[in-house]
Symmetry: C2
């Protein structure tokens, strides 16, 4: 479909203004648990696209925002993966953040990632201020080959835009029958405990285990924060209090008043243990890659400076007999599901035939797409 | 000191009976957060030993329980490390579980671990029903050399007794300037959510990052359960209610009544996200090693069958310039500590000159030590 077919948009959702006012503080992972409350999903109008239409639109929008073909290919693949298999907000809604960032200079439109292997199974990528996915994609075949050869390998990267859907990286590995563990960080907005300053980003951790043919992989992908910032915005808008343990006020005190929380920061999930998970993610991401600590990372939604963050992905063979280990894990996942356990990535997951995109998001993307060069000059193949 | 010098013990602590009645359900990690409430710490009498005395006592006790020298060396080292740097309950108090298990046949006293490397950086150890530490120790030098050569390596093990203090394994690596991540499991006693059956053990995860000379390493080592089972025992004994979110009753319903919780199971920490951490640990431990799932693991404190569990340790170089990366991490840890963040393994940690052991624990260990062969026949060197 083309921009000419877009439905007319008459008004913004009433929460859009609030979200814009505060959205510079909301990293992508803040949307994870809040997708139903996300203002970008709250608009009454939605646009439905089949996969190819959505892919074509995303590609034209990337080109329209100035991205060169390697970046376009990598970002379209990650966007489609998140839209089809991950949290929908990290698909097309988050693509808008990428497009804005190409335009504003927070993401290089034509980066030249540099890959080094200081040790045989230790990859070091400099993303050259581009998207995180491009550096990973350029290393991917070699990385997978290395895992198959040595049994394990580690990919570290610095100097990229924030990672988008972190589960994407381990989902890619799972498709190769490889177990993956990934960590990344961004600008600080989570306190380690009530009373303290924000010291971590929402510090997501992702883990993927292949489940074999006929099943999507097990994909755990979760922020270390107790909730999404957007949920606090929603509570404030609707006059509801928030549960203790979600956020602190500007003085670092635990609060149940969302208006005070809006001036404060998020808490880690699960108290002290969750804060330790955030610390582990910080050390795995910034500590192992050499990327900036959350305290030193520029905001990924404002300004013209790349957040330049780090990411670490550890990839492992599931054992000597790869197929047997995967089948065994699949049997156990089925057994746990039969006992009522939610298996992330598997339970309730089915491939979508078409995508439903909030009309406001679609409109923003289509505006970028309208600036794309003529299609005849481009190929996504 | 010898058994002859032991103080006379006139009575058991009133909680000891309760704890014994239920202790078959309490895995070692259940004690982590409960050390102050641990019945084995509640006895009024304590015995103070300097390091060498404690080490000698532990060695004689292992020999007295029938352990051969390699097992004795490995277990004494792990016990001293936990006693000096880790949670004290996983030092000498947990040694009693090992001694009982040697006696009862749950741990082989003379195992012959077998080590394979199906891939160059992927170690597979069969612990031959011995202690987990022995298989790790026999691979350790080769494992460290491999990490230094390839940048990363993975150690998986099956067929061992439960791992004891999991932080020990990553502390060993940190002493070599290596970053470590470890996971293990045991018999099921944690539900994934209220209403469901127990499907995971307390599934601990440990992470170590070296901090360089002059500082102990950062060691995160925590169970995936919300609290220690022993805390529920204590609440029941003292007539206190327990917070929501700690445990469920026999029907799987969330309960604040510790007496109902005693018939039920523990909850994961941090709700759904903590349950996902438990699932990740399950897949890393049993899934990657091929060891038994928590649902299939025999109890480690009763019967004469080895729990035969699995463990996985991933070890990574902290980067190309090892010393610079460690120094950078140390600077950041100091910065976070200055902002009030608790850095596990570092904050408040100082090497103890002497050890204080509950008299009841000391008495049990001394009973085993009294059975040891004459010291002249043995060497721990």
């Amino acid at each position: 479909m083309t921009a000419a077919k877009l439905p007319a948009i008459g008004c913004e959702h009433p929460m859009a203004g609030i979200a814009r006012r505060t959205h510079a503080r909301v990293p992508p992972y803040a949307f994870y648990e809040g997708r139903k409350q996300d203002w970008r999903f709250s608009m009454a109008d939605e646009v439905t696209l089949v996969g190819q239409e959505a892919e074509g639109l995303a590609a034209r929008a990337c080109r329209g925002a100035g991205a060169t073909e390697p970046t376009t290919r990598s970002l379209v693949a990650a966007t489609m993966s998140a839209a089809l298999f991950g949290p929908p907000t990290l698909g097309f809604p988050h693509l808008v953040d990428y497009l804005d960032s190409f335009r504003d200079g927070r993401i290089s439109t034509n980066p030249q990632p540099k890959l080094n292997r200081p040790f045989a199974a230790f990859f070091v990528s400099d993303a050259d201020r581009g998207i995180a996915q491009l550096g990973f994609d350029q290393a991917f075949d070699q990385f997978v080959e290395t895992v198959r050869h040595f049994g394990v390998a580690i990919f570290t990267q610095t100097n990229s835009y924030t990672a988008g859907e972190l589960g994407y990286f381990v989902r890619r590995l799972a498709a190769e029958g490889i177990v993956g563990l990934a960590a990344t960080n961004a600008n600080a907005m989570v306190v380690a405990k009530p009373g303290g300053p924000a010291v971590y980003s929402t510090n997501p951790l992702a883990f993927g285990f292949p489940m074999g043919d006929g099943s999507p992989p097990m994909i755990i992908d979760q922020a270390s924060s107790a909730t999404a910032f957007v949920n606090i915005v929603a509570a404030a808008s609707e006059g509801r209090s928030i549960p203790a343990g979600w956020a602190v006020d500007a003085d670092g005190n635990d609060t149940e008043d969302p208006n005070l929380a809006l001036k404060g920061a998020l808490l880690a999930f699960g108290g002290r243990k969750g804060a330790n998970v955030a610390l582990m993610v910080e050390m795995m991401s910034a500590g192992l890659s050499g990327g900036p600590w959350s305290l030193d990372t520029p905001d990924f939604r404002s300004g013209d400076v790349s957040p330049g963050v780090g990411m670490t992905v550890i990839a492992m063979m599931p054992g000597v007999d790869q197929a047997a280990r995967i089948a065994r894990a699949r049997t156990q996942a089925d057994r746990l599901a039969g006992l009522g356990v939610f298996i992330p990535g598997v339970t309730g997951t089915s491939k979508k035939e078409q995508l439903t995109i909030p009309a406001g998001v679609h409109r923003r993307i289509a505006e970028f797409a309208a600036n794309a060069p003529a299609a005849g000059n481009m190929s996504l193949a």
